[in-house]
Symmetry: C2
Subunit: 438 residues, 2 copies
Amino acid sequence: MGNEESGMNYRDNTYPFRQDSTFLYYFGLDVAGLAAVIDPESGAEILFGNELTMDQIIWTGPLPSLREMAAAAGITTVEPFDALPGWLKKAGALHTVHYLPPYRELNQMRLAEWFGIPVAQVPDKVSVPLIEAVVRQRAIKEAIEATAIEEAVSISVDMHHAAMKHVKPGMKEHELAAKVLEVAHAAGGRLSYNVICTIEGQVLHNHYYGNTIRNGDLVLLDAGAEQVMHYAGDLTRTFPAGGKFTNQQREVYDVVLNSLERAAGQLHPGKRFIDIHALACEALLQGLKEIGLFMGDPAEGVQEGAHTLFFQCGLGHMMGLDVHDMEDLGEQYVGYSPQLAKRKDFGWKYLRLGRELEAGYVLTVEPGIYIIPELIDRWKAENKLAGMINYPLLEKYRHFTGIRIENNYLITATGSRLFGKPLATTAAEVEAMVQTRY
Amino acid sequence: MGNEESGMNYRDNTYPFRQDSTFLYYFGLDVAGLAAVIDPESGAEILFGNELTMDQIIWTGPLPSLREMAAAAGITTVEPFDALPGWLKKAGALHTVHYLPPYRELNQMRLAEWFGIPVAQVPDKVSVPLIEAVVRQRAIKEAIEATAIEEAVSISVDMHHAAMKHVKPGMKEHELAAKVLEVAHAAGGRLSYNVICTIEGQVLHNHYYGNTIRNGDLVLLDAGAEQVMHYAGDLTRTFPAGGKFTNQQREVYDVVLNSLERAAGQLHPGKRFIDIHALACEALLQGLKEIGLFMGDPAEGVQEGAHTLFFQCGLGHMMGLDVHDMEDLGEQYVGYSPQLAKRKDFGWKYLRLGRELEAGYVLTVEPGIYIIPELIDRWKAENKLAGMINYPLLEKYRHFTGIRIENNYLITATGSRLFGKPLATTAAEVEAMVQTRY
């Protein structure tokens, strides 16, 4: 199933069109109103969609015909969209037709109608063999894909440098986010996800841009471009609005950066990402121990979940045509394996990738330290891990906010390769970039 | 029904949230996951939605509770979202419950489930009395709404001036569109619709930004901001990329501008907009006659539809919380009346607003001239209106592209008021602005 246009506040005022990523991967056709069938027995590929009418061409201008677009994608058979239900019926209905999980309601409604099943049952009847086959192909990036992702990452680098140079105390967050947006679009792409651009980096799901940025604030920018083929970049930097970290900020920054570097050093085919996550968490606790916020043995702290007070989420995820690659297909299939199920405890349950790495995987590494007052209060009230957490000292960090540093890597035969042109990363590099005002 | 988050390439990678406009109008609550009931008999207003859990607050940071938000909107009763179907059942089901047309599939699926009807029947059972009542209220803008719209229009003016100053031959369309986007977001808003930013202004539905802008090209920019309360602006200007119109471009520009000015001069309560549209079309033909492209009597030309070769769409539409205000409720109810049905012939059928104007209406006036080669070829092949159209001369305009000029007006007790801060409008003003490069 391809995607359709998606109405915003009425049907014809649409969000920017986004094709389904698996449809893009197999068919490359970036227009609405399509679906396609691959018949592995006969080898046939059929594209279902409607040609523009003469009346439509008045409004759209001359465009290549669907048949021409299909041919360019190597598909010779094109049928009208309305022929699809009949084709499915002829194919013998559900037991021989495999479909992927629909995440848009229109496709869910259509599948229900075509297969004559209740809408609510559509997700239950998705094809696990098809999901697994698609994941196997999409997880390993070909050279042309790696090049596309690197392009997206390099645009993302430009977005971050533009923000660092543009930030000025007194500015609103949305003024900074707007600059980031401009760079992505000026490069011919768009955002691969809604920008996080905030002085409250500890708020992990933050799409509010109304705060005024003040001298002394840390700005957390999590922003990535989607390039023209729709491959994604996904980078985070945290920088001091005034151009200089405080000592407290700098100490924590270096803890996060050390964790990133230790994790990145472990990227290698055959390594389980869940183990790299654990190592990154251990590195965070080791650093926090040196600051005095953590007491005890870091490895034991990770066992006990002490790190989840500071680092509640996962170390990284797959990247590709989706910024969380193939998340619609199910995290168990994408990030885990029959031998490795996702853990369900706090912290670990947000780790989207755990499985053994293979050459060709593309992923993020993104450790962070987030001081969430509500979480501290909850743990304190439960006296949780009181022997490991220095709660009195932590009070001095209550309004610290959050720091995350995120890079994107390709797993190679011999280790990994950092994607994108150079981006300010060390505290000194970041400070220098912020001080390079426009 | 409020709106939910809308997944882009998977469920959790959402488009920027956009609340339903009617929900915003009555309840002002700009968050997902809500629906509300107004019971005109008892006077009760009930908001259905779920409070954040403690787990969610870890990710979102502390937010006002739903109860607090509801109270700020004057609603005292808040129920969990899941209580809504039961409430509807108790209320006596469909014959006493009125709902508006759903334009998002999820809401359509929910209404089907709650009322126990097939999804396909949901649109048939919308409440016309409720639609009419909502249109009556929303069509007449209160002072606070007019202020909000004027703010959106003034941001839109900044977007246009930024584009005029930013354009440089050699630039890609998306580089210019990116600047427009930045200005909208830097002002704390966003776009009220996808920007049209093109050197092919004759392509009316144009969201392609891949052309290189060259000296001599006309750039048509149709772009408006949505301000923070979600009221829309909607402006169009057409400007010469090189800073100077050619004589041919300037002649046609002045024809369009004259049509705009004549139409704007007619805006007055009691005037039918369909008649103003006809007058604007007549002005276009009068101007084209002076150039030599039209032959004959302009009023007769409009009768015969000769103007639709050059101006295929409508003169304007209502504006408010939606850029095409209330388009989801149905154009017949919004733009027409029981006494005035929408015409179905080419050109006229795209006129969204025909009815008698009332003080408090906000609308666009947007005449244009679009030279569409495919349409000319079709008319020529049919020898259509050959006595009125100077086809040989028109060949010299085949690659002229298109010009539109669009302003936004409030209908007042005594006439109309142009919205927004001053925007370059005459050919000389536009040229001067483009020549004021950054």
